[in-house]
Amino acid sequence: MSQSAVDVPPKGGFSFDLCKRNDMLTQKGLKAPSFLKTGTTIVGLIFKDGVILGADTRATEGPIVADKNCEKIHYMAPNIYCCGAGTAADTEAVTDMVSSQLRLHRYQTSRDSRIITALTLLKKHLFSYQGHVSAALVLGGVDITGPHLHTIYPHGSTDTLPFATMGSGSLAAMSVFEAKYKEGLTRDEGIKLVAEAICSGIFNDLGSGSNVDICVITKGNNEYLRNYMEPNPRTYVSSKGYSFTKKTEVLLTKITPLLERVEITEVGEAMEE
């Protein structure tokens, strides 16, 4: 039916049919909406046995904190994780898309994914949209050729580094890395250094905040330490809670009872030849 074909673009990808209307509204003086950004401090470093990635957990919408505990370390493959900064929808969509493409590639080749594959897929996509897909990523993982760490900028350029930081808190975090990084760090030293770098971003950069997430990837194993450190707990909660002096006035109440949700298991006979 032609009507249902209108809803989904024929080959996937972006659909531009509301652009003209939105331009008309902007010309009439209405400002475009602001998107959810992850102000962010994201870091990665290579240690003796693999890669450690770290990120803060604050998502901002302008000056307001929209999410105090969001996840910025995205899964790409069992041996590859990616931290994302920039427009939240773009980082999520781009990492999900490349993660699916890597999975299909693994099925086709029967091999573990390589970081360089994820890197090339990401940079091709970002370059083709000329920076309009605003995702700045720190990609790290361990594959058959060893541990790798890359940064990817929204316009599609990449760097391969032993330690990297991105996001609004990158300068604060980079100062910690430049002072204290050395080659051949052990796992605990590496985690401590990454946590320190993220904390310096959390406390000194207004776009980053809340907790520290860490992901440790080694050969054949990965550990996602969600909320590894919580340096900003809520301390002002009253144990009594909030008590309301006046009840809300209700004009109309409508109660719809719902039927019990029943699980029906088909009891049938097995097919016979």
Partner: protein, 204 residues
């Protein structure tokens, strides 16, 4: 003036113990003139899944119709209702598809998933999902709503207390926003029933 302030809106959802509540204001305006006081911002997708849409009213209605269409197709193909997490991914994909010419609305999704575990999430206008374990807000009154909910929310509230909390948070926040208000519309959903209440608020 921002495009989101054209019609004015306030939507909030909160999680309770095996239940959730979703509430919105009722005003529909054209900048500073009020043209309706009974606008439906919260719509039912199925018995245990509600979506509240804030922002430009025309996109609210179009997006709602699109989502109901996709959910009905899903029901025909899968012979069951969509889980809230799946629905949130569907809404996110539909919004991100229009990344460079977006629908000018922000959804708030609330539902009861498997084992009657409540699920809430909100998104910005291009589909960036924000899952929360306590409350989510959206609309022109969102800044006041953030403050009110932070102060009033308690984890594991029962349905009655949850209703009282979400109503107080909504009414106190829209009182501080010119563009939303004119009463409130609250849905409290438990595994056995949906309670829909219309609140009396300031009519200014």
């Amino acid at each position: 003036m921002s495009i989101f302030e054209y019609n004015g809106s306030a939507v909030v959802a909160m999680v309770g113990k095996n239940c959730f509540a979703i509430a919105s204001d009722r005003r529909l305006g054209v900048q500073l003139q009020t043209i309706a006081t009974d606008f439906q911002r919260i719509s039912k997708i199925h018995d245990h899944l509600f979506i509240g849409l804030s922002g430009l009213a025309t996109d609210v209605q179009t997006l709602y119709q699109r989502l109901v269409f996709r959910h009905k197709l899903y029901q025909l193909r899968e012979e069951r209702d969509m889980k809230p997490e799946t629905f949130a991914s569907l809404v996110s994909a539909i919004l991100y598809e229009k990344r460079f010419g977006p629908y000018l609305c922000q959804p708030v999704i609330a539902g009861l998933g498997d084992d009657n575990k409540p699920f809430i999430c909100t998104m910005d206008s291009i589909g960036a999902k924000e899952l929360a374990k306590d409350f989510v807000v959206s609309g022109t009154a969102s800044e006041s709503l953030y403050g009110a909910c932070e102060a009033m929310f308690k984890p594991d509230m029962e349905a009655e207390e949850l209703f009282e909390t979400i109503s107080q948070a909504l009414l106190s926040s829209v009182d501080r926003d010119c563009l939303s208000g004119w009463g409130g519309h609250v849905y409290v959903v438990t595994p056995n029933e949906i309670k829909e209440k219309i609140l009396k608020g300031r009519m200014d």
